[in-house]
Amino acid sequence: MGPGRRVAIAALLHRLNGGLNNAALAFELALSTGDSAVDDCGQTLERGRAGVEQASRAATLLALMLDPDAAAPSSSSRDPYAQDVAEILRAHARRIGCDAASDPDVASLNGMDTARADTVEALLTALLNGLGALESRRRSASEPQRTT
């Protein structure tokens, strides 16, 4: 398994769990809100729904990664997936100490591939390529510098 794929699985599982955890907490909060706080309850329910959707998208990407024959969502639902992919790439770049803002290579990994991808399958490819490139960068940064 390539390094990009390994990191992608961990990141998607993290988002899947995070979304479900948020949904569970949001629904518990919403159910315990009294009648006097209907607006508050509505907002909390909305956060719960967003958590479920985040988990669902992460599960879809995981399924596509593990089973290429799995049915992909239509291109019309591409935007939230693109946002997820961009967030995962940004978070991983930050975690390994790559500054996406000042490093043109990292910026291109984060942005261009994702922007060009017009289907969810293409977004998944961009995610794997991006994470693979970031992992290569991390490994080369951690190797001792050779002097000639």
Partner: protein, 457 residues
């Protein structure tokens, strides 16, 4: 109001956790990374809920550098492992919670660490209001509104049960330190052997039983307010140390020569006459002058005209709300309450109302039950005797006797009768004492020549 810091990189999780804690009466700060959290640690929160995995490191890193001593850290994670939980506890976390976090898990945690678990209506309410319509209480409320937002050290003087701690908490809430901690220590309730380490902290091994480093009240109240109740019960040698801390704004733990800067507003309280306590060698005079930058005298209930009725109705409303079994007072009950002398003040009144509420089976409460000392009245009641030492001047003894008597009488006429002098003479003497006190205060302030930037901030 307790304060919580929520550290999580997921904005939704931050919001939901904040919501959960807000419903339990916490004020909230949030951070999305370790760096942001470090910027939000001053003043230290009461409780810090930190995610294990953060963009710039592990949440446990936040506990290093002594921060675990200043706040209760709870690690919250969706990836719980035995190793990470052991590491979190080793770093000083008080608990380790697995996501999804539930209300009941949070309540169990808060209850275990003595945090108030408040929900719904209670969460929105802060310190109970200072209830009353008498001119005395109105004046007190105005004073609080004026000095609350300042950083002045305050000495609250009042009999037991008058609500000194309530006033201290209110001063904290009105101050810019309201987001910081409010800690209260009853100096009379802690063993003299322990009070030093409680106040100033101790290093590991500094005395038998000091098995770990301990941050004292001053360190933990950094950025907030420290209320020292029954200040006259603090041993005199510790009063010297307290004075030094107040002056230098630095504290050293028992067993350490290193001093730690602290930024704490101190509010002290006593149920004794401070001057009398100085005469009895219970309170150092220099500490008294340092503490009473602003003295607040809380009137006893018997001097708050009309407030017995108002407070009794207020307590009854609270009880009615809580039990859904509404009751009311008969007019004769209220009249009896108004006639009582209330040596235990508001606390005694609350207890009487609560007892009468429980004991009454019908809808109307008409019997207050036994009130303290049947037939007790100012004329027959005797408070603690004045101590007069050989060498005290006659003038001084006279002043103390007069002030003591006035404090324990409903009116100046009554005090004059008890003292065997005319009301006019009493009035003139009181005016003289007041003018002497103002002159002494002004002199004390004038002699304090430190530059303004060295004061408590």
């Amino acid at each position: 109001m307790p304060n919580a810091l929520v550290v999580d990189d997921d904005p939704s999780t931050r919001l939901l956790l904040s919501n959960l804690l807000e419903r339990r009466g916490f004020s909230i700060r949030t951070a999305g990374s370790l760096a942001e959290a470090r910027q939000n640690m001053d003043p230290p929160p009461d409780i810090c809920m930190v995610d294990l995995q953060l963009p710039d490191g592990e949440g446990t890193e936040l506990m290093r550098g002594g921060l675990a001593d200043r706040a209760d850290f709870v690690v919250v994670t969706g990836h719980a492992t035995v190793e990470s939980s052991v590491e979190a506890m080793r770093q000083g976390a008080v608990d380790y919670l697995k996501k999804p976090l539930t209300s009941s898990a949070l309540d169990r945690l808060l209850a275990r660490f003595g945090r108030s678990v408040r929900t719904g209506e209670q969460a929105a309410r802060r310190t109970p209001a200072i209830v009353g319509e008498s001119p005395e209480i109105k004046r007190l409320q105005q004073t609080l509104a004026r000095i609350g937002p300042t950083d002045a050290t305050v000495l609250i003087i009042g009999e037991s049960g008058t609500g000194k701690e309530l006033i201290a908490a209110r001063l904290h809430e009105l101050s810019p330190r309201a987001r910081g901690r409010y800690l209260a220590l009853n100096c009379g309730a802690v063993s003299p052997n322990l009070i030093e380490s409680e106040l100033f902290g101790h290093e590991k091994g500094s005395f038998t039983g000091a098995s770990r480093q301990h941050a004292g009240y001053f360190e933990r109240a950094h950025g907030g307010t420290l209320f020292l109740d029954e200040i006259t019960e603090m041993p005199l040698d510790l009063q010297v140390r307290l004075l030094r801390v107040l002056e230098s704004r630095r504290v050293s733990r028992v067993g350490s020569s290193e001093t730690i800067p602290v930024n704490v507003r101190v509010i002290a309280a006593t149920n004794r006459d401070p001057q009398e306590a100085v005469h009895q060698r219970k309170l150092r005079e220099d500490l008294l002058y340092r503490l009473q930058v602003v003295p607040i005298e809380v009137p006893p209930l018997r001097k708050r005209a009309g407030d017995v009725r108002v407070l009794a109705q207020h307590f009854l409303s609270d009880l009615n709300r809580a039990s859904k079994d509404p009751k009311s007072f008969s007019e004769s009950m209220l009249a009896r309450l108004e006639q009582h002398y209330w040596p235990g003040n508001v606390r005694e009144l609350f207890n009487v109302v609560q007892r009468a509420y429980i004991m009454t089976t019908g809808r109307v409460i008409s019997d207050p039950g036994p009130l303290q000392g049947p037939g007790w009245s100012p004329a027959t009641g005797r408070e603690s005797p004045l101590t007069v030492r050989l060498g005290d001047s006659l003038c001084d003894v006279e002043q103390r006797l007069i002030l003591h008597t006035v404090r324990h009488c409903r009116t100046q006429d009554e005090a004059a009768r008890m003292l065997g002098i005319s009301t006019k003479t009493l009035y003139n003497k009181l005016r003289l004492y007041e003018s002497q006190r103002r002159t002494a205060d002004a002199n004390a302030r004038f002699s304090d020549t430190r530059p303004p930037d060295s004061r408590w901030t």
